[in-house]
């Protein structure tokens, strides 16, 4: 993208404006410019073509297919040409129980309720990552942002969970939080009672256990990003503030935090999108729980679409997820990130 814009600014539009001027251009120059243009567009086509084809085949086509499937009653087994068109019924069933009064109550209980529960879990994770993960990561990053022996080692340790595969990490925590696992023994040893029915299966604790694991997994990324941002803050600013009598906290709060604002905002963006699409970890941890107590919208979609072979309904959920991601991402870009983008444009 950047290459296209830069080369476009350098040659195309500038050349075009000059041809509109009163000065006549010699045929030789005109031919040269034509050749340049042709060359430029072949380059663009050559470099973006393969990527564009891959994008069309593996992104645009699947999204369009899902939109199409979502309008049908289709079990994924029979030929799609024989599937029955039912309009937006799959969406209606997910959102409020469907248009048929005879089955509305049944759909409310078995489809709509789990859908809203799962979506609720996604948004709760977004809220909690802003309310808990962000301050936690910020504090750790600010504390670690100084020279001390073993600094690299500590950073590696903090970043390690993010590098471990989701599946391996999931299985590991599943064993740790087993009713007979280390976590249970530890809690009992300090005189407390572990949750009734197991850490994951308890209706209240299940969600919090998973949130704890997700936090452990992704906190490292936030800390490393913030540390990278902090290393870009000019030392002179901090020193000047100190000389003026600012305390350590004032330096952090008035100088460091505002200056890594763009990094924080980008992290928040990644975190929000990641929370909406959260799947791997939840799926490894017994598919969102036996009663869906920590199911996310993606695990609910997989459960219905692949395991119950209701491809039509599963596709509708996938499209809803896509729309939510798109709306949230666009809104975030236009509001929170607008200033950062504007700054970037100015600096260019």
């Amino acid at each position: 993208m950047t290459t296209m814009e830069t080369s476009g600014m350098g040659r195309g539009p500038v050349g075009d404006t000059s041809s509109a001027g009163p000065r006549t251009v010699s045929p030789k120059v005109e031919a040269q410019r034509r050749a340049d243009n042709r060359r430029k567009w072949s380059e663009i086509a050559l470099f973006t073509g393969p990527a564009l084809v891959l994008f069309l085949v593996f992104v645009v086509f699947p999204v369009a297919s899902a939109m199409r499937y979502s309008l049908y009653k289709w079990n994924g087994v029979k030929k799609f040409s024989e599937a029955e068109f039912i309009g937006f019924e799959n969406y209606a069933r997910a959102l409020w129980g469907g248009s048929d009064p005879a089955t509305r109550q049944a759909f409310k209980t078995a489809y709509s309720q789990p859908f809203w529960d799962a979506l609720g879990h996604n948004f709760l994770i977004i809220f909690l990552s802003m309310a808990i993960q962000l301050p936690l990561a910020l504090i750790v990053a600010l504390v670690l942002n100084r020279k001390f022996p073993g600094r690299s080692f500590v950073r590696v340790v903090i970043f390690a969970p993010y590098v471990i595969s989701e599946v391996i990490a999931g299985v590991m925590w599943f064993i740790i939080f087993d009713p007979q696992g280390i976590a249970t023994h530890f809690v009992e040893a300090i005189g407390l009672h572990p949750p009734e029915g197991g850490w994951f299966e308890d209706q209240t604790w299940g969600f919090w256990t998973v949130f704890f694991i997700v936090t452990w997994k992704y906190l490292g990324l936030a800390i490393i990003l913030f540390l990278a941002g902090l290393s870009g803050v000019q030392q002179e600013l901090q020193e000047a503030a100190s000389i003026d009598g600012a305390s350590w906290w004032q330096v952090q709060w008035r100088i460091n935090v505002p200056l890594i604002g763009p990094t924080i905002r980008i992290w928040a963006f990644l975190s929000i999108i990641g929370s909406i699409q959260l799947f791997d970890m939840v799926w490894v941890l017994n598919r969102g729980g036996t009663t869906g107590q920590y199911a996310t919208i993606a695990s609910f979609m997989t459960q219905i679409g692949f395991f119950r072979h209701d491809v039509g309904f599963g596709s509708a959920i996938a499209v809803i997820m896509f729309v939510i991601s798109l709306v949230v991402a666009t809104a975030y870009m236009l509001t929170v990130l607008r200033r950062d983008n504007a700054d970037a444009d100015l600096s260019r």
Binding site: R34, N37, R38, W41, S42, I44, A45, L46, G49, P50, L52, V53, L54, V57, K73, N75, G76, V77, K78, K79, E82, R93, D100, T103, Q105, A106, F107, T109, A110, Y111, D178, P179, Q180, G197, G198, W199, F200, E201, Q203, N286, T290, T291, G292, Q293, Q303, F306, F307, R308, H309, D310, G312, F313
Partner: protein
């Protein structure tokens, strides 16, 4: 000018898409079934592709996989023109992903695992399965009632190799320890035994509710007792769950769960993996009973080390059918059961049907029974079953008023999945008996 630019760009895109297309079509040209046009001439070489679910276990051994390899080799010895290309695929991948995708793509294996019931019906409706009714008529006649789950609209589309009923497995020594002298035949007797085991500090019943289906089987058995045969079997095609007996099954299950017969943390318990699984609890003597299918002795044996320990465990295992409930429309001697079979893809060579008849033959079924892996579907193989408890199961199989196929298999993945999800909700305290029926009704409306 602009036109030319666009042309150049399009040409480049076209060139790169041609590459992608070429890469895609490459695999499509390869003939997957060389014998597809074969008419059964014994001199033409035929390679049958075969997907089954026998994969190596934790200890690296794969007795069923080895058995199938031997069956294939023996068949090749009898018919030298037929060879096999076998792929062993983990059950869930095979059933949920590999087979549906292969069928959709029109590039399915000639022989593949078939669980019967609603899933088979969906595959038949889509025109994917070979009708075996005529070609395998002799084998089908021998199998008798066991073949019913592989039949649809009076035609046979699959041949089972194993079939068995389920019931409650128990440790005789733990029953003795708790002072239980006879196997329970009614729910009242079972409840009394549960109380005795609890006072002897033994977990009465283990259930792997974390895997959902083991918990669901309790509900199936209550449904078998509360619903009449007509209602149960009619629901397999009508998907009508308005009879109050379906809600009653959940109410009965709820009442049973309220007596606290299961191990603590039962929704966190897996069925078969690890010493804390339900099978592990029974095998290690921590729990007395478990509701399971005919396959379970081999699962228990996996927890015992050494031949002596395995033999001792096997001798200590007892089995009784699901007890009768106080009320309900169901026949108290009806049993739930299920099995495994194979289907032929609609375009498979005729040798496929002949091979399935061979799998169901007395010879192969006797050899299968002798391995002790499961109960043969062909009654002629039953004589080779040596384990006394499995012999008892075989007897119940033939004496039952009728054998109802596992309800999730009967209803297919959609309604069956909704049913299992609902039932585990009863175990987890999040769903009501009516909620289970709601889920089934809703799922039925989507198919």
């Amino acid at each position: 000018m602009a036109h030319m630019r666009r042309m150049a760009a399009l040409a480049a895109i076209a060139a790169s898409s041609a590459l992608v297309l070429a890469a895609c079509s490459d695999s499509g040209d390869t003939p997957s079934t060389p014998g597809a046009t074969n008419t059964g001439d014994s001199s033409t070489p035929v390679e049958l592709t075969w997907w089954h679910n026998a994969v190596a276990g934790d200890d690296g051994g794969n007795p069923l996989g080895d058995f199938w390899q031997k069956v294939a080799d023996d068949y090749t010895a009898l018919h030298p023109n037929v060879t096999f290309k076998i792929e062993q695929i983990q059950n869930e991948d095979l059933q949920r992903t590999r087979i549906p995708t292969a069928l959709q793509a029109g590039d399915a294996p000639d022989i593949f695992q078939q669980w019967g019931g609603g899933e088979l019906a969906a595959q038949v409706d889509a025109g994917y399965l070979m009708d075996l009714s005529e070609v395998d008529a002799d084998a089908i006649a021998k199998l008798g009632g066991a073949v019913a789950p592989w039949q649809y609209q009076d035609k046979t589309y699959g041949i089972p190799f194993q079939f068995g009923v389920e019931g409650v497995w128990y440790r005789k020594s733990l029953f003795d320890q708790a002072g239980i002298t006879a196997e329970p035949t009614t729910m009242d007797e079972l409840n009394a035994d549960v109380a005795k085991l609890k006072s002897a500090n033994i977990i009465p019943i283990a259930v792997g509710a974390g895997d959902k289906w083991p918990a669901a089987h309790w509900w199936y058995n209550f449904a078998l007792r509360s619903c009449s045969k007509d209602v149960l079997q009619g629901a397999g095609t009508s998907f009508d769950f308005s009879d109050p007996c379906w809600v009653q099954a959940g109410t009965d299950l709820q009442a049973f769960i309220d007596t606290d017969p299961f191990q603590p943390d039962f929704t966190s318990t897996a069925a078969q993996t690890g010493a804390t699984s339900s099978a592990g609890l029974v095998a290690t003597g921590k729990a007395a009973m478990e509701l399971m299918g005919a396959w379970n002795p081999s699962v228990y044996a996996g927890f015992a080390e050494g031949d002596d320990a395995k033999a001792a465990l096997s001798a200590d295992l007892g089995w009784f059918p699901m007890p009768a409930t106080a009320s309900g429309q169901g026949d108290p001697s009806a049993a739930l059961g299920g099995g495994d079979g194979f289907s032929c893809y609609v375009d498979a060579p005729p040798e496929c049907a002949d091979f399935l008849a061979y799998v169901a033959s007395d010879e192969v079924q006797t050899a299968f029974a002798a391995t002790g892996i499961g109960l043969p579907a062909n009654p002629a193989g039953a004589s080779a079953v040596t384990d006394p408890v499995l012999q008892e199961l075989a007897a119940v199989n033939s004496s039952a008023a009728y054998v109802q196929l596992w309800l999730d298999t009967t209803f297919g993945p959609n309604v069956g999945g909704a049913m299992n999800d609902g039932i585990v909700g009863i175990f987890g305290g999040t769903t009501t008996p009516q909620g289970v029926v709601d889920g089934m009704t809703a799922a039925a409306a989507t198919q």
